[in-house]
């Protein structure tokens, strides 16, 4: 009995442990299949669009596109496959995510696409693929002078508002901070909460300080402060000034947000905004698409960038570039087909279709704008500099961002701490964070 028990236990252990040490056993796919791991969920507009693109691509080239819609955590979901050598040919996510997952200190897991951008002719005869895009945007995510990602969708953030509501109140989109404050005061006086915010989403709250700092000091300074192990950077006056701007909006200052914003559960505030129960919302360009079925009659989406600050190093010419697109893993089985697909999807007709069907801005610069996002066009066309979302902190220092910045920033946005307390806590917590690394 004893021997049998031990034997049974050993067998069970072996069965349990076997998968841990076994190699990938899936067979290599055929050459005429392109495996595509998508960040969209089935049925989402982009997913429907991609399915149609895949059908067209197969009809034209004979290469079947095998799409797996994995959702936003696609990079996490395919991690096992990559480790076991069962690698998809194309992976899709926003560039910050792709960079965080694939451009790692211990090795680069995706193929460089620099030659594809500069040596492959465009789909409509352009000399190179790069001619389709703004080079400043594409190179934002370059790593060691190599480009690794290929975009098809462009996202930026700023204030969205209802032009009709503003017109009824006799208001126009503000350009400077003072104008912005005045507009908010007027709305508040009219009984309309000037700003909408779902306080339970920290990265929505974080927009305020990151944008304020970008206007005061210019891009790159949030990342600089995050990476400063001594915390001394936080002593620079620009950081305090940005904190004062945010505090002015908060419940501790002029209280411009909708009542109870600190406890607002996403997407309650944005739904209220769509119903004209608040003035403006600071969000990404996905917001008109997300709320289009909820908006009241006559709602006309307008956009204005985060206001300029007198004497600030940043301006409305500083535009955030948040890109969604593709990466080709190093061990992709069909990289040539992947490149062909990317080229195919960049055609102008396809970029226009993306804008039309998904109500998003295509990465291709000459593509049409969706009607709901026409208001963003002047800002993009007037862009002088591009910077990555949240100053790149999300990909450079994700733990710092989640564990140090979010809690203190939330407290500032909710008006629970003063700007001075914000600075002293950010300094202390940043030092403590790096000390524990």
């Amino acid at each position: 009995m004893k021997k049998r028990t031990i034997l049974a236990a050993c067998l069970i252990a072996t069965v349990l442990a076997a998968p841990l040490f076994a190699g990938g056993q899936r067979e290599k796919v055929q050459e005429d299949v392109l495996e595509y791991a998508s960040m969209w969920n089935p049925g989402e507009p982009q997913a429907v669009y991609m399915e149609e693109m895949a059908r067209k691509f197969e009809a034209e080239t004979g290469i079947r596109v095998d799409i797996s819609f994995a959702g936003r955590d696609v990079l996490t979901k395919i991690r096992s496959r990559i480790l076991m050598g069962d690698v998809p040919d194309i992976v899709e996510q926003d560039f910050s995510e792709l960079a965080g997952a694939f451009l790692r200190n211990d090795g680069i897991l995706v193929q460089p696409l620099t030659d594809f951008f500069y040596q492959t002719p465009g789909p409509e005869g352009q000399p190179t693929m790069m001619d389709l895009f703004d080079e400043n945007v594409i190179t934002l995510y370059a790593h060691n002078n190599e480009i690794y990602f290929f975009p098809y969708e462009f996202i930026t953030s700023g204030f969205f508002y209802d032009k009709t509501l503003f017109a009824e109140q006799g208001l126009s989109a503000p350009r400077t901070w003072d104008e912005f404050i005045q507009v908010n005061r007027d709305l508040k006086a009219a009984g309309i909460p000037p700003l909408a915010l779902d306080g339970n989403i920290s990265f929505y709250n974080a927009y305020y300080y990151y944008w304020a700092l970008t206007r005061v000091m210019g891009p790159g300074h949030l990342a600089r402060a995050a990476g400063d192990r001594t915390g001394k950077t936080w002593d620079e006056p620009g950081y305090l000034e940005a904190a004062r701007m945010v505090y002015q909006l908060s419940a501790g200052g002029e209280n411009f947000f909708q009542p109870g914003y600190a406890g607002s559960n996403y997407p309650a505030a944005q739904a209220d905004w769509a119903l004209n129960r608040s003035g403006s919302i600071l969000c990404g360009t996905w917001i008109p698409s997300e709320t289009r079925e909820q908006t009241v009659d006559g709602f006309e989406v307008g956009f204005y960038p985060f206001p300029e600050v007198p004497g600030g190093a940043g301006s409305v010419g500083d535009v955030e570039a948040y890109l969604i697109g593709f990466a080709v893993p190093v061990e992709a089985k069909n990289p040539e087909a992947a490149r062909e697909f990317m080229r195919f999807i960049s055609r102008k007709e396809h970029a226009n279709q993306l804008a039309r069907d998904t109500i998003n801005i295509a990465a291709r610069t000459d593509a049409a704008y969706p009607r709901l996002l026409e208001g963003v066009r002047p800002t993009l066309e007037g862009a002088q500099r591009f910077h990555v979302s949240y100053d790149g902190v999300m990909q450079l220092y994700p733990e710092w961002f989640a564990n140090v910045f979010y809690p203190v920033d939330n407290a500032l946005v909710f008006g629970n701490i003063t700007p001075e307390e914000f600075i002293s806590r950010m300094k202390a917590d940043t030092i403590a964070f790096w000390r524990n690394r």
């Binding site: 998968p19 040490f21 979901k77 997952a101 920290s202 990265f203 559960n265 997300e290 994700p398 989640a402």
Partner: protein, 500 residues
């Protein structure tokens, strides 16, 4: 930590294989199995969240490659990981509550407790992601989300409190059971608690922040910016705690036999001992018998020499008070007794079966009318050898009778009651009592406070071994000159099944 899960699993499997018929053990095993599942779920979950947020896994950082490789085959989604944790916690709670509850003597308390456990388990299992998937379709999420989020928030809060309250309740129940445990089992009980408590604390620490559902539906199931509340210090403590629990469990369960795991072994050992003893007794009694025969011959010769001449071949008639005649008599008795020993103890084979207390005790009460019985005999069953169990009780009563010789108001009292998982039978007399010094020795073989030809000091030693072979214990409590109480603890058998 990963290997600890395997260790828990193997431990549970081995114990299950060896003791699959012991009901309490099944409850107990739910705990290591539950924590195994829950830990496995947490292992995948934390790694998933960590990787999705580009942060180091605070709990299982060193095992991430193994985790990912394993998940290549398991292909668990984040929902699957959540489900694994949910199931594991449910199983653990069932075990943690069911195990101490199974010891409770009151049937209605047990039934009520089990019912409550089912409700708790149902409430936790209802928190399954499948329910979410029914509630949500990605394309209608924006319309439904505020309402469902608030519902989920409420439900998650309720769930977390339910888990914490259940764990606290389980700990309190174990404490209560320990307090109620008879003193002779206190050490065992303490060791059981010592083995369980580290796991209990481990579960509390690990699942204090039981993950919320809201992360799954947040922006179409994105997992961004969900920070895990575990720190490195906490992670190290958890690893330490889990190894401690494993070590305590193995030590408790296997070395100290805290779960009566060795009852069957003891029974077999008893029979083996008896077999060996039987051979020894045969040789020993034969040898002693020869000595007595020799003494008898000598005594007979002495008698022949001392007696007046009689007709040849005729023994002289014994004279009253003659010493030689007494020796001859003792020799005759001893030879007869020694001759009967091998036959009496020829084969001791215990035939244990489920017997009601009523069936065991009623004949004794009839046999010894002077014994008073206070409480009604509980409607309970124990698994013993009916014949030998009767012998034990007879032995205890006869001892009491002997202690009460020449007592002006002799009294022997028999009581029987439930005590947690055991039936306690007490035989109390108001005899001369046993001194403290002797109390330590009375269970030793060949020790007797009243040595004689009849009393060889084997009765209590034999009884104690038998009681232990039945999975129980024999305990003495006495005050010299006042009383003696022999307490006999036998595990109650609550398994269904017919009584022969």
């Amino acid at each position: 930590m990963f290997y600890l899960i395997l260790a828990y699993l193997l431990f549970a499997l081995v114990v299950l294989l060896r003791h699959r018929k012991t009901l309490n053990i099944l409850w107990f095993l739910m705990m290591p199995l539950g924590i195994c599942l829950a830990l496995l779920g947490l292992l995948f979950f934390t790694e998933y969240i960590s990787y999705a947020n580009f942060i180091m896994n605070p709990l299982f950082g060193g095992e991430n490659l193994l985790i990912w490789r394993l998940n290549y085959y398991l292909n668990l989604s984040v929902f699957g990981m959540y489900r694994l944790m949910n199931l594991g916690i449910t199983l653990y709670l069932l075990g943690a509550l069911g195990y101490p509850l199974s010891f409770h003597p009151n049937r209605s308390v047990r039934t009520g407790g089990y019912l409550m456990m089912l409700i708790i388990a149902g409430a936790i299992l209802l928190n399954d992601p499948a329910l979410l998937q029914m509630l949500f379709q990605p394309h209608t999420i924006f319309h439904a989300i505020p309402r469902v989020l608030s519902t989920l928030y409420l439900y998650n809060s309720l769930l977390r409190w339910l888990i914490r309250i259940s764990l606290t309740g389980s700990a309190l129940l174990m404490g209560y059971i320990h307090l109620k445990t008879p003193s002779i089992f206190k050490k065992q009980s303490l060791l059981i608690i010592g083995g369980i408590m580290p796991i209990h604390v481990l579960v509390v620490v690990l699942f204090f922040w039981f993950p919320s559902h809201s992360i799954h539906i947040w922006r179409f199931s994105t997992l961004k910016h969900v920070s895990l509340p575990y720190t490195r210090v906490l992670a190290s403590s958890i690893v330490l705690l889990s190894f401690l629990s494993m070590a305590a469990l193995i030590y408790t369960a296997l070395v100290y036999n805290s779960f009566e795991l060795k009852t069957i072994q003891r029974r077999r050992a008893f029979q083996a001992t008896m077999k060996t003893a039987h051979s020894g007794i045969r040789i020993f009694s034969h040898s002693i018998k020869n000595q007595f025969i020799a003494i008898r011959l000598l005594a007979e010769q002495g008698l022949l020499q001392e007696a007046p001449a009689t007709a040849p071949g005729e023994l002289p008639s014994p004279a009253p008070g003659d010493r030689l005649q007494q020796i001859l008599s003792i020799c005759e008795q001893s030879i007869a007794r020694l001759s009967s020993i091998p036959a009496l103890h020829d084969r001791i084979t215990l035939s244990c079966q489920k017997v009601t207390l009523d069936r065991l005790l009623t004949p004794l009460v009839m046999e010894f009318p002077q014994v008073t019985v206070s409480n009604p005999i509980p409607q309970a069953s124990i698994v013993v050898d009916e014949h030998y169990f009767g012998e034990i009780l007879r032995n205890l009563i006869v001892n009491s009778q002997e202690a009460l010789l020449n007592h002006p108001a002799p009294r022997i009292h028999l009581s029987c009651e439930r005590n947690l998982s055991h039936i306690v039978i007490r035989v109390t007399d108001n005899g001369c009592g046993i001194s403290r010094e002797h109390q330590k020795q009375i269970f030793n073989p060949f020790f007797s406070t009243k040595p004689s030809i009849r009393s060889w000091g084997l009765g209590l030693a034999f009884s104690r071994q038998l009681v232990e072979a039945f999975g129980g214990a024999l305990h003495v409590e006495s005050t010299e000159g006042v009383y003696t109480r022999m307490e006999l603890y036998i595990p109650e058998d609550r398994s269904p099944g017919e009584i022969p």
